[in-house]
């Protein structure tokens, strides 16, 4: 059974178009000066923005692999939990950096 139009085609479309919009958002707000990486808090937000995009790509890719039987659904759960842990640790480190 050909499941490409039900699995990777929508995935590519979602993160292709979505990725263009996401990057455009960052570039436009940076060019406008409202998103300013010279400010420590905004550096932290940049990390969160990038993490969020990767987080959703990972989530959809892992769920697709699990559905197609390539990986176990438990791998999806454990990988996502590991990503949450990384997010918390790195974001808290940014917080300390911002205060220092």
């Amino acid at each position: 059974m050909n499941l490409f139009s039900h699995s990777w085609l929508p995935f590519i479309y979602l993160y292709g178009f979505g990725g263009i919009l996401f990057i455009a958002g960052i570039i436009i707000t940076m060019k406008a000066g409202s998103f300013d990486l010279k400010r420590p808090k905004h550096k932290k937000w940049m990390w969160i923005l990038i993490f969020g995009f990767v987080w959703y790509i990972a989530m959809h890719a892992l769920m697709t692999w699990a559905a197609l039987g390539t990986i176990s659904p438990y791998v999806v759960l454990y990988t996502l939990l590991a990503m949450v842990a990384i997010f918390i640790v790195v974001t808290l480190r940014f917080g300390k950096g911002a205060k220092a």
């Binding site: 139009s5 929508p10 979602l14 919009l21 958002g25 409202s34 998103f35 937000w45």
Partner: protein, 698 residues
């Protein structure tokens, strides 16, 4: 299709009634913190991010309800979650564009932004479009509530010997009366705190239901292996079937829906305005989209997935022909014990009520801000003192809430004939959001976007959208990505792409031809009969729009009329409306947010990052809304006289309920003490003897 009545036991009904009474008492308790229209609508701009995040859960999950996602989960599997997992693409635009603008420009509603950014006439049209959107949204909420409750009710009641049939509209009217009660007397603070409680409860209830479902089936592995591969995939098939396909839902939900929800849903905007500052709003949005929405996707869709698995394993227990909109109630009744089923149903209906309440409150805010006040100003009617004016507006807001509730019930009629709530909602989003979404988006991120461009986007864009709706096979088909056209509900989702493109195209074309319009209008102005010429063009534009609106003649004539509208509207707007790009964009576009910050504060922002100070408060005589801290405390906060300060109860779990914004005045020498007027202490709801936390803003 199999439908149900009288599901549930007496115990379930008792649990539901107790739950609702508890929620209403909870809301009424926090309603006492509503002292003026600012509190009624915005909760006083004081709350912490976590409180707003949980409050948004109840609003978001309620609106993207258990009913519709369980229905799609049952019909199409885990792909029902995709609308919850596609909101990240616009987050930078929101966090660093729209959110700071609405906070720093101190607008109280989206139409007010249109007046400041463009012109009063833009505000007028935006108000009409936004009220239509909000009332339609309330209608969808009521429809979902009705569909959720109907399976639990008998098919008829016998009252005094008379048989009264239970109808969808009858159930909705009763629900609307209950819903209207605490919003009318509580306001935004009541809604935020009620939603906080309900946010936790409904996440818990949804996950509990998933646990029961998995246990009922015999474990996660059995559940997973029962589902066909197509049901496990997280995204729908690219372009089929017509009632649930990826590409249509991408444009309807990820694009139009996400921008609509983040940028023009007044209910959500008011949640962010209730945050104590912009950064807290960013945190609330970020955590909500990153972590809470994926959990919510499981919470709202799992009943459908479990229902599908049961229908494969035991079709005699859950028939594959169950009405999709009833699957949530059917599955919950099978897998939860009596009492627990009542609790889950109470959480579901209460969550839906939260959404509707938020929307009613938000629509009343639009009425007060964009209809009541402008009309009062136009009539030059004065209410006397500020407090007298505020009291009368609060009364008007409460009457407006009742009127909006009634209109919301009537709006159900427009959606009740769709096969499922999901399709009704999809059609609604695709149709009503694009003009405003494009207007807001280009207004915020493109300085060259003018008043004539936005008004033509509204009028000309709507004209082309009407034509698209009337001739979908000709105008929308070129954008359909291979989706088959359903004659009964043509292109429910992908029409969002057509509608967004035509609105954007019109807006961009008009903005790029601004110089040409100015030169033409300048020529006309030089003629002695210029006013008559422009009035004549205005009448022609109205007639052309009427040609499109009422479908006079064939498609060619209507298309020509629409083009005529797009040519004449910018000219008449340029002539009649005063618009100065330099004045109208300051502090209102992403490129001028730093100016907006300065305007908000009243002086240059102080971005030095200090520490929080913990203080006790004492009263001083006077009327100035300023605070006096010690020199050392101000040094700790790196604050200067004239900087903004946020003072709140030290107990973080209060989430900012007891707090106030003020300005640093000249310091004194008593460390750990802040002096403030009785008025400020009362606004902050501070308790004598309680320690407070002070932080410098901006």
């Amino acid at each position: 299709m199999q439908t149900f009545h009288s599901i549930g036991t007496t115990t379930d009904w008792i649990v539901m009634v107790v739950y609702f009474m508890a929620i209403m008492l909870f809301g009424s308790y926090f309603g006492r913190y509503t002292k003026n229209t600012s509190d009624f609508f915005f909760g006083g701009r004081r709350f912490s991010w976590w409180l707003i995040t949980m409050s948004i859960v109840a609003t978001g999950v309620g609106s993207h309800s258990f009913v519709k996602y369980s229905a799609k989960g049952f019909e199409h599997g885990i792909a029902s979650s995709m609308t919850y997992l596609n909101d990240w693409f616009f987050i930078a635009f929101f966090m660093f564009g729209w959110l700071p603008i609405i906070v720093y420009s101190k607008v109280r509603s989206i139409p007010e932004y249109f007046e400041k950014r463009f012109s009063p006439s833009s505000r007028f049209i935006a108000t009409i479009l936004l009220l239509l959107y909000m009332i339609g949204y309330i209608g969808i909420g009521f429809l979902t509530l009705g569909k959720a409750v109907i399976p639990m009710l008998p098919s008829a009641f016998v009252i005094l010997g008379m048989t009264v049939p239970v109808t969808l509209m009858g159930a909705i009217i009763v629900i609307a009366i209950i819903t209207g009660i605490y919003i009318t007397f509580g306001g935004q603070t009541a809604v935020i705190f009620t939603d906080l409680l309900q946010g936790f409860i409904l996440l818990f209830a949804g996950l509990l239901l998933f646990f029961f479902g998995i246990t009922y089936l015999g474990g996660f592995d059995i559940f997973w292996n029962l589902l066909p591969v197509e049901w496990k995939l997280p995204l729908a098939d690219f372009n089929q079937p017509s009632n649930f396909n990826f590409v249509g839902i991408f444009w309807q939900d990820a694009i139009a829906g996400s921008i609509g929800f983040l940028f023009m849903n007044q209910g959500l905007i008011m949640r962010f305005m209730a945050c104590k500052n912009v950064n807290e709003g960013r945190k609330a949005a970020g955590i909500n989209i990153l972590f809470v929405l994926p959990i919510s996707a499981i919470v709202v869709g799992n009943a459908g997935w479990v229902g599908k698995a049961i229908s494969i394993a035991s079709p005699e227990v859950v028939s594959p022909s169950v009405s999709p909109d009833q699957i949530f109630v059917v599955v919950a009744n099978i897998i939860a014990s009596p009492g627990m089923f009542g609790f889950i149903m109470a959480a579901l209906t209460a969550a839906l009520m939260s959404t509707v309440d938020t929307l009613i409150n938000a629509t009343a805010a639009i009425y007060i801000n964009d209809v009541h006040r402008p009309v009062r100003q136009f009539l030059k009617k004065s209410y006397g003192t500020v407090s007298e004016s505020d009291r009368k507006e609060l009364t008007a807001a409460r009457y407006a809430s009742i009127a909006v509730t009634t209109l919301g019930v009537l709006a159900v009629l427009a959606f009740k004939n769709f096969p499922t709530v999901y399709e009704a909602h999809g059609f609604f989003h695709s149709t009503l959001t694009p003009p405003l979404v494009v207007g807001i988006f280009l207004g915020v991120f493109w300085k060259r976007f003018t008043a004539s461009a936005v008004i033509t986007t509204f009028v000309g864009g709507v004209a082309l959208m009407i034509l698209g709706a009337r001739y979908p096979g000709i105008l929308i088909a070129p954008f359909d990505h291979g989706i088959e056209m359903n004659e009964a509900h043509p292109y429910s989702y992908i029409r969002a792409l057509y509608n967004t493109l035509v609105c954007t195209g019109v807006g961009v074309a008009v903005a790029y031809t601004t110089k040409f319009q100015l030169s033409l209008v300048s020529n006309i102005r030089s003629k002695p009969n210029n006013k008559m010429i422009m009035n004549g063009l205005l009448v022609v534009a109205i007639l052309l729009f009427a040609t499109v609106l009422f479908g006079i003649s064939g498609i060619t004539i209507q298309l020509v009329a629409a083009v005529g509208v797009m040519i004449l509207v910018p000219l008449t707007v340029t002539y009649f409306v005063h618009y100065d790009e330099e004045v109208n964009t300051v502090g209102l576009t992403a490129g001028s947010i730093n100016i907006a910050r300065k305007q908000f504060k009243g002086s240059e922002p102080n971005d030095q990052e200090g520490e929080n100070a913990f203080v006790h408060w004492k009263l001083i005589e006077g009327e100035e809304r300023v605070m006096r801290f010690s020199e050392n405390d101000m040094a700790l906060m790196k604050a200067n006289v004239g900087d903004l300060v946020y003072l709140c109860d030290k107990r973080n779990w209060m989430g900012g309920l007891k707090s106030v914004h003020s300005v640093f005045a000249e310091p004194h020498s008593e460390d750990g003490i802040v002096y403030m007027t009785a008025d400020l202490a009362e606004s902050g709801l501070f308790v004598e003897g309680r320690e407070l936390k002070a932080e410098k803003e901006m």
